[in-house]
């Protein structure tokens, strides 16, 4: 059989488009990198003060910071009082704006988790809570998604970013009042949006359900919260922008644009609307959550360990590759659908190309932590963030495979995708946010986490719960997909086969929700400065870790003794 000429020309066009895009990428990276890579590796030192490298920092670990320092290697590194001052001023300037966002985010986490667990149970108990429309699965699930995505994840991301920026730029945050206004507008809008969904007003597209009239305010709120980043950038005191600034800065530019374009009403139609829908959907993941999560990981992993990132240039290369490839993968949500083939194929190709930037992150994080895995035991921050960044790699590799037609034909319409979605948004992003919050909160309120056991309980509950969730749905989804592809079996078989796994998800999910409750209670306790403050300044933990010059002497003694 001769291949039809039609197919030939399609693949030719595709090949051409692909070569042009890769060529374009190289030109782009080259032009961006003029004077970019000759920072040598010293760019990675920008997050440390002069003699600080080697010094661990984890405000969440007062009792065991001693062990943490031991695990990371002994040091006589130090931080002078003047250097410390810079950082204190930066921290102080961002404390309240970051706190406002984080406080809001944990409230949404509880709302979203409640909606999550009820939705999950409804999937195996379909006659439970069916009497009112707002509690039907289709609405609660949407409330879960929107409160988790726009309430918890976005707010936590913005809070962490606002806190990091002044530190990274060694410049006090400029324009805090924009944050207060922005956060307020965003929240009122989000509350209206979630209520609207409960009442049945929806724009109908996944990830874009909130009515567009309300979305206008989300855009305004988001832009206001992003503004201080740029104001602070214009006043920055550092010469070099650390890699986290690239990730976070770009994310804050991308998100308002994406959200605005995606919500323009009455412009999109039919399947073109679907293309736009997933252009937005995946860019929200790839150009919003992923860069913020990675930006935080790129700061906290080296910072907690007191060692610069393994390869700084690799991290920058990874940034532009991620931006380029990740922004074109939206079509992989529509494989097999009625869309132009070239578009879907382009997205599959770029999904596979994502292996490059993911590899850059994997190598970098692994090599930075490598040999220091013991430190993970002693630092709550690191425990969450290292787990998160490992799961980032896992989610991405899984994603690249899932985008292949041969795998996607099985997994596309099944719970397998939901498992992957949580591996990314929970295993990676949420874990990184938990870790970051454990680091940041003691700095913001000048108080220690009152109960270390609550941190451990939180960690184990969500980790074990999530393992059950993910493994269960991955198996269940795969079996569902196989059953659905086998036309000799009635459809209902593909439903029955998932039941044990859906129940497992409810069990795992309950653990996670319990973990969230403990976390949020703990969050409120530290905010209220509950318990006895263990030492006057968190910056000088009990065991005399040499955070300031005077303590250096003590540290030397410690080392000798």
């Amino acid at each position: 059989m001769n291949p039809s000429p039609m197919i030939d020309s399609t693949s030719l066009v595709l090949l051409l488009a692909f070569s042009v895009s890769v060529l374009g990428l190289f030109v782009f990276i080259w032009s961006m990198s003029n004077g970019f890579f000759n920072t040598k590796e010293s760019g990675s030192h920008i997050i440390f003060e002069k003699d600080e490298i080697g010094l661990v920092e984890d405000p969440a670990t007062s009792q065991s910071s001693h062990e943490l320092q031991d695990a990371a290697g002994k040091t006589d590194a130090s931080l002078s009082a003047a250097e410390l001052d810079d950082r204190l001023i930066a921290d102080k300037s961002s404390a309240i704006p970051a706190f406002v966002c984080l406080l809001a985010s944990v409230c949404w986490l509880i709302i979203g988790s409640a909606a999550a667990i009820v939705s999950s149970i409804k999937l195996h108990n379909p006659d439970w809570l069916v009497d009112s429309a707002w509690m039907t699965f289709g609405r609660l699930r949407t409330i879960h998604l929107n409160s988790i995505i726009y309430g918890w994840a976005s707010m936590a991301g913005i809070g962490v970013s606002l806190w990091l920026i002044p530190r990274l730029l060694k410049t006090p945050l400029v324009g805090a009042k924009f944050v207060y206004w922005g956060a307020m507008i965003w929240h009122v809008a989000l509350m209206c949006g979630v209520t609207a969904i409960g009442l049945g007003y929806t724009d109908g597209m996944e990830w874009l359900e909130m009515p567009w009239e309300i979305d206008i305010f989300i855009v305004i709120g988001g832009a206001l919260m992003g503004l201080p980043l740029f104001l602070t950038l214009m006043n920055r005191k550092v010469d070099h922008l650390y890699v986290s600034v690239w990730y976070i800065g770009a994310a804050l530019i991308w998100f308002p644009i994406l959200f605005f374009v995606a919500n323009i009403p009455h412009l999109y139609f039919g399947v073109q609307g679907a293309a736009m829908n997933w252009w937005y959907g995946h860019n929200a993941l790839g150009l919003w959550f992923t860069p913020i999560g990675l930006g935080a990981a790129y700061y906290f992993i080296p910072k907690v360990l007191g060692r610069p990132i393994y390869s700084y240039n690799l991290s920058l290369l990874g940034f532009w590759c991620l931006a380029f490839f990740y922004s074109q993968v939206g079509g992989h949500h529509l494989i097999g659908g009625p869309l132009p083939t070239w578009m879907v194929t382009l997205s599959i190709v770029q999904s596979v190309m994502m292996i490059i930037p993911v590899f850059a992150v994997a190598v970098n994080h692994h090599m930075t932590v490598g040999g220091n895995f013991k430190a993970v035991l002693h630092s709550p921050t690191l425990r969450f963030i290292v787990l998160g960044s490992m799961l980032y790699v896992a989610a991405s590799i899984q994603g690249s495979l899932e985008a292949l037609r041969s795998v996607n034909v099985i997994t596309h319409f099944t719970h397998y995708t939901v498992a992957h979605a949580h591996l990314g948004m929970y295993g990676f992003f949420t874990m990184v946010m938990f870790g970051s919050i454990y680091f940041i909160m003691p700095r913001i309120v000048g108080w220690e986490w009152p109960h270390p056991w609550m941190i451990s309980a939180h960690f184990w509950l969500v980790s074990v719960g999530f393992a059950i969730y993910f493994i269960g749905l991955t198996i269940g989804g795969w079996l569902q997909g196989l059953a659905m592809l086998d036309a000799s079996k009635p459809f209902i078989d593909s439903v029955t086969v998932t039941l044990p796994y859906l129940k497992a998800r409810s069990v795992g999910g309950s653990f996670m929700v319990l973990g969230h409750i403990i976390f949020v209670v703990h969050f409120f306790l530290i905010s209220l400065r509950y318990g006895s403050k263990k030492e006057p300044a968190l910056l000088i933990p009990k065991v005399n870790i040499p955070f300031i010059k005077d303590a250096k002497v003590a540290a030397k003694e410690l080392k000798r003794g």
Partner: protein
């Protein structure tokens, strides 16, 4: 700070990225698909059907039901299950907001109107899916119905449940929302033959029909 070179790179770079992305996934599909003509056999939604579609959106049926049977060459089971031929862009010409869906907790519904044209069945199934399909995990939607003691009034749309699920002395009456939703479901029928490629569906229907 040397004219803030890095900031410029960051902002310009970010804008280029998002421009390329929008070009590939939003603008090019827009240009390509804008002129697609609706197939002659596909009718625009009537008022009632459009209202029903709104109910479908508002209750989130899309999170469990797709509307996009795949190509038999790719996933043969879709057609074999009676979900219909592979759909093409033209089939959605009247769908202002798409409802393609990404989940099949339940079956594909693009051709449910052809597969199950009975209003009675649909109403009963919405009231209690397990009355028709034991083991179903589709939620029941009792709030779309009114339980009335005694006989039906004139004008009531009565739901006839299978005998096991009938409650003595109680009449189940469908609300307007339920009736509209079912009208929409019954309208889902893309079983007419279709031109295969996008290029072909860009040419208008009329001359093509005349040529036959």
């Amino acid at each position: 700070m040397a004219g803030h070179i890095d900031e410029k790179k960051l902002v310009i770079g970010a804008l280029v990225i998002i421009a390329v992305s929008s070009l590939a996934l939003v603008i090019m599909p827009y240009v390509q698909l804008k002129h697609i003509e609706a197939p002659a056999a596909l009718k625009p939604y009537t008022d009632v059907q459009a209202k029903g579609r709104q109910v479908y959106m508002s209750l989130g049926c899309v999170y469990c039901h797709s509307q996009q049977p795949r190509d038999p060459k790719f996933a043969p089971a879709d057609e074999k299950r009676g979900w219909g031929r592979a759909s093409t862009a033209a089939d959605y010409a009247y769908d202002q907001v798409h409802l393609l869906g990404t989940m099949r907790t339940g079956p594909d519904l693009l051709n449910i109107g052809a597969r199950q044209p009975s209003q009675d069945w649909h109403l009963g199934h919405l009231y209690q899916p397990r009355a028709y399909m034991p083991g179903s995990i589709m939620p029941a939607f009792p709030f779309l119905f009114i339980e009335r003691k005694g006989a039906a009034k004139p004008g009531d749309v009565v739901v006839n449940l299978p005998p096991d699920y009938k409650k003595p002395g109680i009449t189940i009456v469908a609300t307007t929302d339920a009736v509209n939703l079912v009208e929409y479901l019954k309208s889902l029928d893309r079983t007419y033959p279709i031109k295969k490629t996008i290029a072909e569906s860009l040419t208008t229907d009329k001359p093509a029909a005349a040529a036959k």
